[in-house]
Amino acid sequence: MLAPQRSRPLAVTIGAGLSLALMLSACSGSPEGGDSADGTIDVWAHSGQASEAAALETLVKEFNSSQDDVTAKLTLIPEADYTSTIQATSPDELPDVMEMDAPTMAAFAYDRKLIPLEDVVSSETLDNRISGVKESGTYNDATYAVGLFDVGLGLWGNKTLLAEAGIEAPTTADEAWTVEEFRTNLAKLAEVSPSGKAIDLGEANGFAAEWGTFTTTPNIWSAGGTLMKDGKADGVLNSQENVDALEEWASWKEFADPNTSGSAFPDGQTALTWTGNWMYPTFSEALGDDLALMPLPDFGNGTKAGHGSWQWGVTPAAEGNTEAAGSFLDFLLTDESIAAMVEANAAVPGSTTALEQSELYGPGKPLELFATNLESACSSDDVSADCIAVARPVTPGYPTVTSSFGSALLAIWGGADVQGELDSAARAIDSDFSDNNGYQDE
């Protein structure tokens, strides 16, 4: 009789103990965040292009050995889950310093996951930024992010195949193919391309993901449309200009290589590819002098290109020790660090002095087009015929914008009715904005 009587409270104790332990371990998940008193700062970054991640790891090592006061501990998170990881992490569990994709900055600032950098990063560093990087780091008139580089999106050609089809590659924005010329050229190039398809439009990257928004918005801006105006999508996103532009885009599918191998263009299988600067090292190694960089096709309102790339911010976890975080960012934004990074990803250097010394950007240099595109940058709310590089909307509601637009793109690429898809995306965005009071940030 004794044993059962004793076992009951024992079981309860064990059970309660277990649950308590579970609850405690659940609550104290990440003890690292914020304990920066010992001079250690936690740093999160995305792991996308292998060369880019390797360059960052080297930079962090160099920073740690360059001085004795601060040690940066880098954690790389896969790109596909990077934004949602930060979104799902509460501010006190975030690292001191984190990387973020440009259009997600406003949402993180709205969620109080970023602090203004005016008193964190030195003013020399801030003043030295190129205007594109300045613009994508600014929200509500404060700087929340700084970037080592900005991005360029363009049309890359294989000169041998272009010559075979008797087509000359345009080199400056003024010479960009009109959309009719582009369509004709796709048909001509399909005949000379070994795969039978003229272009890789990047569908293997997933049009439903951020890539879709980044790669197709130049079409709608160039057609005179945009994503949102004054916090409203209805009548803007589903405008006639956008419908026409995306119908045109979807019609290129018959010339588009699905690129299952991941290397259709560098292998010489397609004559064209539509992608960003980060592929330049791969392309130039594979094609050498055969590589041509061209502006994206002009839908009527001048050629356009996306801008805004990965950038860095400081979280509330660093408060009380922002000096350490600031010294790390100051180090990342020196011309030497920027040069090391852009050697890995061929991006447009993010500081004016680094841009001047660049071997890729500048008059007569291979990627001159991307730098000149950025000189005339504008915001998505106000796209003029003169501007070329356009930033995606800077709004805390951007996650819904890109998710709804991406779903529409995937469906349109699959053959769905463009007007219907854009109407429904616009309604979803507007309903989310009205639920959240227009994302007014007081």
Partner: protein
Amino acid sequence: MASPALLLLALFVAVPFVAAIWFSLHNVRLGDPRAPSFMGITQYVRILTDPDVSRQFIDALLHNLIFAAVVVPVQTALALSLALLVKKSIPGVGIFRSLYFLPVVFPIALVAIIWRLILARGDQGLLNSALSFFSGGAFGSQDWLGSELTALASVIVLSIWQGCGFQMVILLAALQQVPAELYEAAELDRASAWQRFVHVTVPGIKPTLVFVALYTMILSLRVFDQIYVLAKSGGGLNEGATRTVMYEAVTAAFDENNIGRASAISVVFFVIVVILSVIQRRATSEKES
């Protein structure tokens, strides 16, 4: 004695469920430090009546039901035939057992990536090039994942390929439990192979068959991974033709940060699953009695 179990149940089932109901009545944004505002039953009204939101939800529910209606009988039948095949004691049967079981070991996300290459549109897709080779080029390239007609069917095929081996192993164990004397007696009675199957094998493994069907049904209702991977990472899967309820809930929560709607979807889905379980429980217990 039941208190630890009850405590754990409360902690991991009741608390999240009550929280989901509370979330569904408020405008909760993932990662937003502002206090959630009360929305009443707006999210439920949208899921059930709003032209955009409810269309997607009803579509998703329909896809789940189609998926279950096809996968449960087909996968169970296929698993049973595989189990009957590998039950025979011939030399090297262990190799076949392992081969059929192998896909179960792969995570479904990996399976989705493999099938993405098989089903890729254009001439480079393995299936397309095989079909074109064997038909002498008469069979043109199909966009298996992108087309509205074949997208869900493609997902069903790859899911059955992945899941079938597990049911096979369970059914194989059950088959080996059927006493050999029963087969001998049936043979003495000159029962044909088909009669032995219907009157000895099936009654002998019936409880296991019911379990396998129930289990497949539950898996069919929560199908998510392969659809998410194929739609979001460049597989070109037709999202509109394949979205499922779990996919709707996860994308609402983590792509749109809309925890309120995701919770409301989960709560409505919970009610539907409870109803389905009760129906299935009734149907199977009547048969058993």
